[in-house]
Amino acid sequence: MSLTNRAGTEPGRTTDSYTPDEMMTVAAARSLPDGAVCFVGIGAPSTAANLARATHSPRLVLVYESGTIGAKPAWLPLSIGDGELADTADSVVSVPEIFNYWLQAGRIDVGFLGAAQIDRLANLNTTVIGDYDDPEVRLPGAGGAPEISASCRQVIVMMRHSRRSFVDRLDFRTSVGFGDGPSDRRRLGLTGGGPSVVITDLGLLHPDPRSCELTLTHLHPGVVLDQVVEATGWPLAVSADLRTTDPPTAFELDHLRRLAAARQ
């Protein structure tokens, strides 16, 4: 990841360079409206959600699968079970309760997922690379992902864009995006809306309203279309109205870096 851009400027402040990962995190944070209830995994999603909370969404509700509801961490936790999450939460419930009463019941507006592989219908693999019984790489597995994917009103996927991860065919389907096509979520009884956006270090992809196929809608500043096509393992659909993402503001970058510096 050597790509570096110049951020947008604020009057009276020196602009700053930023990394593609920072652009990805800022784009994810922007997608979280104030007051939304987010089911947050550790890593980039947690950073994005806490950035949103520190900037435009002070009333964002963070729910971690460890059972902490309404956590307001002052720094970024390393694990989803860090004491900081429990100490600052409105309520801490058991793991059965978080999955049955809160996630499965459809109380979560936005779920975040990452993955090792994604396909053009936003199905995800976090289980194995290679054959299941003789894997090349054994990944951590499902965790909360299948039910986050099934039950949240919308799912935001955050992944670095590369040919190894944006694949024509998953080695294993851990979580369902749109399955085999537009009617599949309904057929499978999945109550949530499915992936609403895939945010990468190169741009944004949205599912086509009709086919559900992921379609490139935004390039991040400085990224050219060929880069994204090259980094995608299937013939990439591109929006006729391809736009450029607004670069991170100094305000956003400042908060993001303060959060990162306070990481425990």
Binding site: I42, S79, G81, G141, G143, G189
Partner: protein, 277 residues
Amino acid sequence: MMARLTSLPEAVAELVGDGDCVALEGFTHLIPFAAGHEIIRQRRRDLSLVRLTPDLVYDQMIGMGCARKLIFSWGGNPGVGSLHRFRDAVERGWPASLELEEHSHAGLTNRYVAGASGLPFGVLRGYAGTGLMEQRSSVARVRCPFTGEELAAVPALRPDVAVIHAQQADRDGNVQIWGITGVQKEAVLAATRSLVTVEEVVDDLALRPGGIVLPSWVVTAVAEVPGGAQPSYAAGYSQRDNGFYQGWDAISRDRERFQAWMQTNVVERASHAAGRL
């Protein structure tokens, strides 16, 4: 039957047998490291290990050859990366091959809930459309008799032994846990036997905000092991040693370095010092 207050080595010797199905539960918080280390020292073999989030202690037990099978839903080093000993066992069969049964968190959780509830199965919205339906995940389908909807059914889980770490027990063996309590109550209630290591045995088990109590009569044995959850943590007693979790990545990457570390820090360490890493 009240819980017995005993020592960790005695409790492991009595409660954990070769070939047992053992759940050392803990969801990031209160992971029973000291008990896992004692199981390693006592050289238990052919265990079926169960846990939603097998982390470093299971990586250690797998690397030391205790496990035959792993029933799990997420096997990584949280916020850091892979569990290298787990991967080595699955990818290359070292030190032995490891049979896997894998679930989603919700699915494995509901296996415990069914076990704790005395039901033969649990029902959830889950698994539909995923590869987990096929991969030895012991998942079936059940139809709602009212709406006709199909849902996932998971069989009740009833481990032979559940092992957890808690903050406190009183002298009667009543146990209190607070903070993130995970699925530990369900694991203990689902299991045939249970061992609870505690930070402290206290005279008066005053209920804390967020505290849950396991009455003595559903616990088999309690052992006082201060620091028994380190390098994870016990809210009110210690902080999570995030540096250790990050450092484990390098220690565990290499078989020899792993073995040397385990020899020095676990195998040759006296039981009473367990957990004080």
